[in-house]
């Protein structure tokens, strides 16, 4: 049953926010602006956040060939995530600005400043182990989160964030290329 419009004590119908013409006009304008924003964001803004494509940064094609990423297909969700992982690791200040205070001018402004892809792959296959320093088991994702907060002087992304997940996927792809087993020990040669 639809409730009747409220009445004052004289029995005159009060105008609810929606029945008032000015309020209705305002709401319609807001809806219109929202639609325009969504259309602009998707079609005209050029913001990558609204697109599934990943920009090809310098070094990606060489990395892709060297690590045989095409094993997973020329294109696809996994390959794009690996590519995003590559961008995050190599250009952290540009691709994860929400989680780092580092800028292009800083000496060490990306994960690549400390870690090679091989480091990440070995880190991945040796993750989920007890860390004596911290006194508990640490997952690869948590290690990435700690890097954002510490070395990258920034903030902690959630465990589900692509800024964490795609670095794990990059490490996984490299681990496959190196044909690593769980717990593989890196040779010192």
């Amino acid at each position: 049953m639809i409730p009747s419009a409220p009445q004052d004590d004289k029995g005159v119908r009060k105008q609810t926010p929606w029945t008032s013409p000015s309020a209705r006009r305002k709401s319609l304008i807001l809806i219109f602006l929202l639609v325009v924003f969504v259309l602009w964001a998707h079609m005209a803004s050029g913001f990558r956040v609204f697109r599934s494509e990943v920009a090809s940064e310098p070094g990606w094609q060489a990395f892709r060939a060297e690590h045989q990423i095409d094993y997973y297909g020329e294109d696809g969700q996994f390959v794009r995530a690996v590519q995003n992982g590559y961008n995050l690791v190599s250009y952290t200040y540009k691709y994860a600005p929400r989680f780092t205070r580092k800028t292009a001018g800083d000496a060490v402004n990306s994960c690549a400043g400390c870690h090679t892809p091989k480091d990440l792959a070995y880190g991945f296959v040796n993750s989920d182990r007890f860390n004596a320093k911290l006194g508990r088991r640490i997952s690869f994702e948590e290690q990435v989160q700690r890097c954002y907060a510490g070395a990258m002087d920034g903030y902690v992304p959630t465990i589900y964030d692509p800024a964490v997940r795609d670095i794990r996927l990059l490490a996984r792809a490299v681990a496959h290329h190196l044909q690593l087993t769980e717990g593989a020990i890196r040779s010192t040669n």
Partner: protein
Amino acid sequence: MPVGKIAKTVMFLLGAGGFYLLATHKHTQREETRQAAVSLTPACAEKLRRYALDAGEHYRSPYVVQQTGTSVTLAGYSNEDVRAVQRGCNIVDDTQGRRTTEVSRDRWNTTRFIRSKHLACTHCHQGVGDKQDANGNRLKGSLHLGTSWGMADMYDRFTGLLLSFELRQMQCYINSSNGYKPNIADDVIRDVTSYSRFLSAALNLKIGNHYDEQGVDEIAASATDKQGDDYVRGEALYNQKCISCHGVQAAGRELNGQLLAPAIAGPNAWNMQSRNYFYYVSTILPGFICRNMPLGEENTLTNQECRDMAFYISNLPRPAGDRQGPLAALKQQALMTGMPPLLRLMESRRSELPGAREAERSQ
């Protein structure tokens, strides 16, 4: 400041303080459980002994030596890691905590995530997630947990996600166990991941490589003689091959509180959103049946027989899943409640019909 406001502030502070104390207490309890020695189930004790899981600087798997003649040295495990692997194995083997008196401590209270009273991970991931024949060969389509870890994070066609190992486990809890989602960082998830990763190390599996034992060896209709999936044939086959273990209407069998075989239909089975459900994915359950059933006689059924049986089993009532909505859930609940007594009544009437006893005798 008015008294009411002061009272409200004090109440709020007391409430927040109470929650803080409770959280701290639970946290301490969890830490104590992580530090406690683990009592293994017989299957886990055997498996982990065979793979020589122990704390140490390095790990060398006897299985790899036995299979390849060479020894591979991997990073060793700390005592904490060993206990995590042991707990994970226990969860896979005894998800319901039937073999422990302390489910909350020994299995991280897994039953809070499960509505089914029967299902355990090992029912699908047989051999405690690592099914092998007598010679130690891993078996095709046996849903091996170690290989699943190696191939995790790939694009999943059912969810449209890059499905991590942890998210996949959550799906198992929600759909295959017809339950609820644990947190991604919950010990119940992390310990099973640790166990699966240990299996991967013990078998020297390479990250990202495909192995035959990974997942199910799916059977599409095109892999049959295209006679169509037949309920009547499926029912006859079920009565012939499966009923002795899984019972009438596939409701599972228990004896003196011991589970003999899990339900594969009815309230204790997987729900309609599980990949085992034929109408959701028609290739997985037939593949599972062909490669893993009947126990001890695997690979003896034809593709057509497996599809017929899967079709029949999926037509028996079972819980609705997330996506089916409340009406479907109500319908399924009514069917699960009403059908068993109705069918029993029909069976008893049928046996009373003239000539039924002669027909039985002639069979």
